[in-house]
Amino acid sequence: MTAVLERQTTLEHKNRLTPEERRSVGVGVALIALGLFVFFFFGLRIDAGEQATFNLSLQTDRFQDLSWVVDARAFSLVVGVIIVGLGIWRLTRRALRWTNVSLAVGFALFSMAFLAWAAAGSQFSLVGMLRSTVILAVVVVIGALTGLMCERVGVINIGIEGQLLASAFAGVVLSSAFGTWAGLAGAVIVGGLLGWFLAWLAIRFHVDQIIAGVVINFLALGLTSLMSARILADVQSLNAPARIPAWRIPLLADIPVVGSMFFDHTFFVYGMFVLVVAIHLGLFYTRWGLRSRSVGEHPKAADTAGINVYRVRYRNVILGGMIAGFGGAFLGLAQVARFEEDMTGGIGFIGLAAMIFGKWLPFGALGAGLVFGFARSVQQKVAILNIGIPSEFLLMIPYIVTIIVVAGVVGRTRPPAADGQPYIKQ
């Protein structure tokens, strides 16, 4: 359908450019607008000589009192000019391979200028923000990996949100009653069960996969809210999971900035990185991956090669659910450390967007998740600075970023060919 639409859209433009050229021009216009915004609304609004101080160390770090001081006004003005320059370069429609890179660089610079503006005249913990970027990315990345596991075999999973929520609930209750490991195991099992439920509806009954996913979200939301109101409100000791200590990795954690960002976390964060690498290797180097991908691209070809399409789909969708369970456990046990009604707040859908943004690749999901984590982290830290933007608008940022992402900031993406299509044998 996208192809049809794209063609028709180009028909209306009638300007006879290739899709890449049009994209380059679009990105160019966007960058120029962004650059001008930085120049006039950040740069010129900062008082001359005001300095922004970025702290590069946390109180727990071995090396203290590292910081980076910039002249906020000069910095913003220069950055604005650079972004406009990038935009003009895009308008020339040359070096089309660099469109996405230009866009990424433009947005990174924009973020820096924004922070300089927000922190002008005061201090801002840059390393704190980067560290929470990683933490806030975890659920998004795991959500994206869940989606990827399912879609690589041709099953769309819109129920990630519900899987996260239900497993967070299970994790919190079981951890409160029996300890962390029971909580983790319970969360993973509940996630896996919901994965099985999705697969069962989609494969056994050919239920429209998107509807099946919506059902999972409903069920999870309804059941957890109901039990939260009827049970957790009554027995509060069930909503007090055991604290999970950070595993500080010796030496690596002492590296300035990078150490706090990556090497001083709970096992969940390390688990996320392990999952990314493992799924990447699995998908592209093993028999499991080859078969999974063949089922997602051309299930009939897989069937004629003697591969049981249904079994592969069941297995991967259940595995995906278990991964979501791991994410839910992180949310309930570590990130929030208690259960709250509707505590996922749409993050499963953001994970789905990250999967698309990451082009159905594990490392893509990681990158996309970090972008979202960054957006959320900026929003949280900037809210503290009290810069005059209503907090509601800052809270919108991750959702708006998601819309921009699925609206094709990355350009053309290619989902698995059989994504969302039931496979029916006669």
Partner: protein, 508 residues
């Protein structure tokens, strides 16, 4: 030692696809399974290969019965199938496609790519197939893709190999090469079932011919004694005309002119790359070519459904390069699209709704913002009668109709007005012989009434029989022009492969 199908019956919700069919093939024998579209050939083979479960009957391979519908079991029993629509994953390499399902491993689940590559090269060399194991399947021509399918089958040690319409996508030259491979397989002691609706090919390659009609086995003959006419009658159930009956054309002014057109496909490749052609009033111009040489994109661009990057299209002297499909439709252009189920019809709509699909917005079907369904139903009823569409009522979903009748709905809709230009893409694909004859007659009738006709078909026989002029399309360009009365299929086939074949090349 044989592969046997005994008393196979398979029912679908609306049809009985196979009705008590039996068939056997010995090692070292080539059996052709002949029948027209919809006779039930593919269903039968899908049962043999374990893709469908038969409602009745048994499949026996070398004395062992295949119990469950499971391609894995069929493969293990020694059956291999080269499907009409290739069972290859486009984004995998040749080697990945070949080893799928029997991956060589080193260590736990880790694929041994070197062994995989070696396997492909070995088989490829043994049968002279020259296939590169590292090429991405979506990047190689269909002829080569077919060889990949053959390698897949051979590597699984198949003793019986089924080819489902294997020549549909090949040029005459490629067909020759393909037959050579099949003969080698036979020498090797493989039992081959060759499914086709093409009489000549069955006569040329088979040791034995079994004819299927309406799901039933209606006869078995020896190709050395059978004639084309006999086989045709057996296939269709009545005598058939094997040629199109028409007068010589009397071409007049130019109606369609395509000049140096460049069009991108969905992957942004230049599918049409500087094509130039003209079609005059009162003539049928056929475009021959191997599928995927830009025919689809050419037609879509002419019809305003796909933007062009360069060049112009004009209809009746008016530049329509940037026209929308509706504007072009309103210039009295009829379009029979390539994929009737995708583009030509909305399958869940009724016959009536489909009959007005591209004229619903004007009176009498529309009164301002509101539809006049009574007027539409009347018109639809008239068209159904006039164009011999077999349907019980006009308010049933068009998906209930057979392929031939669906195609007649499109023809009726498109031809029921004064048309200056007819663009017909694969007008008879997957259609029964009766409907083919009918649709051909209607196209010729339109020509005789003075319309210009552009015919695109991957069936070379159809192009040669119906056209007054034949253009060959190769890699997005017009690679040659032929007179179908004098040129041979071989000459045209050579041009389809891109070699210098045309006597009078157009706009070089």
């Amino acid at each position: 030692m044989a592969l046997e199908l005994r008393g196979i019956t398979k029912r679908f919700p609306t049809v009985i696809a196979n009705d008590d069919v039996s068939l056997a093939v010995q090692p070292g024998e080539i059996v052709a399974l002949l029948g027209e579209n919809g006779a039930g050939k593919t269903t039968l083979m899908n049962i043999l290969f374990g893709l469908y479960t038969p409602d009745e009957g048994r499949v026996i391979i070398d004395g062992e019965e295949l119990k469950h519908a499971d391609p894995g079991a069929a493969i293990a029993a020694g059956v291999g199938m080269v499907h009409q629509h290739f069972m290859l994953v486009p984004v995998f390499t040749v080697a990945e496609n070949v080893i799928l399902g029997l991956e060589p491993l080193k260590g736990f689940d880790w694929i041994d790519r070197r062994t995989a590559r070696k396997l492909v090269t070995e088989v490829s060399d043994r049968y002279n197939l020259s296939v590169d194991p590292d090429a991405m399947v979506e990047d190689i021509p269909v002829g080569v893709q077919q060889r990949v399918e053959i390698i897949k089958v051979l590597i699984r040690d198949a003793r019986y190999i089924i080819f489902d319409e294997p020549t549909a996508v090949l040029t005459p030259q490629e067909v020759e090469e393909f037959f050579q491979i099949v003969r080698e397989l036979k020498e090797d002691g493989k039992g081959v079932i060759f499914i086709s609706h093409k009489l000549n090919e069955a006569l040329e390659i088979a040791d034995r011919i079994v004819v299927l009609r309406d799901g039933k086995s209606v006869g078995e003959t020896n190709p050395r004694v059978a004639t084309r006419e006999q086989l045709a009658e057996l296939m269709v159930g009545r005598p058939v005309l094997l040629t199109v009956d028409k007068e010589p054309a009397t071409p007049e002014e130019v109606v369609l002119r395509v000049d140096n057109l460049v069009v991108l496909d969905d992957q942004a490749h230049r599918a049409v790359d500087g094509a130039t052609l003209e079609v005059h009033a009162g003539e049928i111009v056929g475009i021959a070519g191997v599928q995927g040489n830009g025919q689809t994109e050419l037609v879509e661009s002419i019809m305003g459904m796909r933007p062009s990057l360069a060049g112009t299209v004009s209809v009746g002297g008016e530049d329509v390069t940037k026209h929308s499909p509706r504007q072009i439709h309103q210039l009295a252009v009829a379009h029979v699209p390539e994929d009737r189920q995708e583009s030509g019809l909305v399958l869940s709509f009724t016959v009536t709704e489909n009959m007005v699909l591209d004229s619903y917005y004007d009176p009498p079907y529309s009164r301002g913002v509101s539809m006049d369904w009574d007027a539409a139903t009347q018109a639809s009823q008239r068209l159904v009668d006039e164009y011999d569409v077999k349907t019980t009522r006009v308010d049933v979903p068009v998906s209930n109709l057979s392929g031939g009748n669906q195609q007649k709905v499109i023809v009726a809709r498109e031809f029921d007005r004064d048309v200056k230009l007819v663009v017909a893409s694969q007008p008879t694909r997957g259609v029964d012989v009766g409907s083919i004859e009918y649709i051909h007659a209607r196209i010729v009738e339109r020509r005789d009434q003075g319309a210009a006709v552009l015919l695109v078909s991957s069936e070379l026989d159809e192009v040669m029989a119906l056209s007054d002029r034949v253009l060959v399309m190769f890699k997005g360009r017009i690679a040659g022009e032929f007179d179908p009365m004098t040129a041979s299929n071989t000459e045209v086939g050579l041009a389809m492969l891109g070699s210098e074949g045309g006597d009078d090349r157009v706009a070089s």
